[in-house]
Symmetry: C2
Subunit: 132 residues, 2 copies
């Protein structure tokens, strides 16, 4: 087994983040690269976690919340009470995401309404040439 690890530079290139970001995530205990002397070696596990981190960020979860989710995603299958607890966290996040999506859908519909209105106005009076 080559164990397949990545340097910080490789990780940055792969995921489009800066070294600073990865060190920050380590400091925040979202990642836990192993050390070879001073240098960090990022494992497959770190890669998987980073993917989740970046995705989580895209819909507005804080890093702390993401940490909770990551912990959830790595439940030790024997610790049932742990699972039950993390399921609670999951439910909250799930509910929040659902309601966010619903609001987002409403807002999208809203915006589409306004855009339709705008189009109508522009179509009605094609005074100036407007390139698409």
């Amino acid at each position: 087994m080559t164990a397949m690890t990545f340097t910080i530079g490789e990780m940055c290139a792969e995921f489009g983040v800066t070294p600073r970001t990865l060190r920050f995530y380590e400091y925040k205990e979202l990642l836990a690269p192993i050390r070879e002397g001073q240098k960090r070696l990022f494992t497959q596990r770190d890669c998987a976690r980073l993917k989740l981190i970046l995705r989580g960020k895209r819909f507005g979860f804080t890093l702390d919340e993401i940490k909770d989710l990551l912990d959830l995603y790595e439940v030790d299958p024997t610790m049932l009470t742990q699972i039950a607890a993390t399921m609670e966290v999951a439910r909250r996040h799930h509910a929040e995401m659902i309601s966010r999506r619903d609001e987002l859908n409403a807002a999208i519909a809203d915006l589409e309404g306004y855009m339709a209105e705008g189009k109508r106005i522009l179509a009605a009076r094609p005074k100036t040439e407007a390139a698409a």
Copy 2:
């Protein structure tokens, strides 16, 4: 016409925000309450805008972005080139919202998968009593 205006306190109670927030929004030119002497009087228009502001915030738009949107929602129907320009902004926001929603949907599906897994585990080994 009573003109129906609200004091800052009434607004806060109504929308669950602090005075500081409303003053900040005014400073940022998101709201424009009229002044009676020193005091701010918030109009229906301010209420409508505040609703949009709060909604915008919930899905991660910055106040600056929200300002753009608010401006869009108040297009002067005679300025056609203005409309065309704001339509551009609208399209960008629309696209962003769509992609956000799609990602959110994916994440929701993901999380539901993990939750189902958790449930399965808990169901398989009902060792400890877990109150819902």
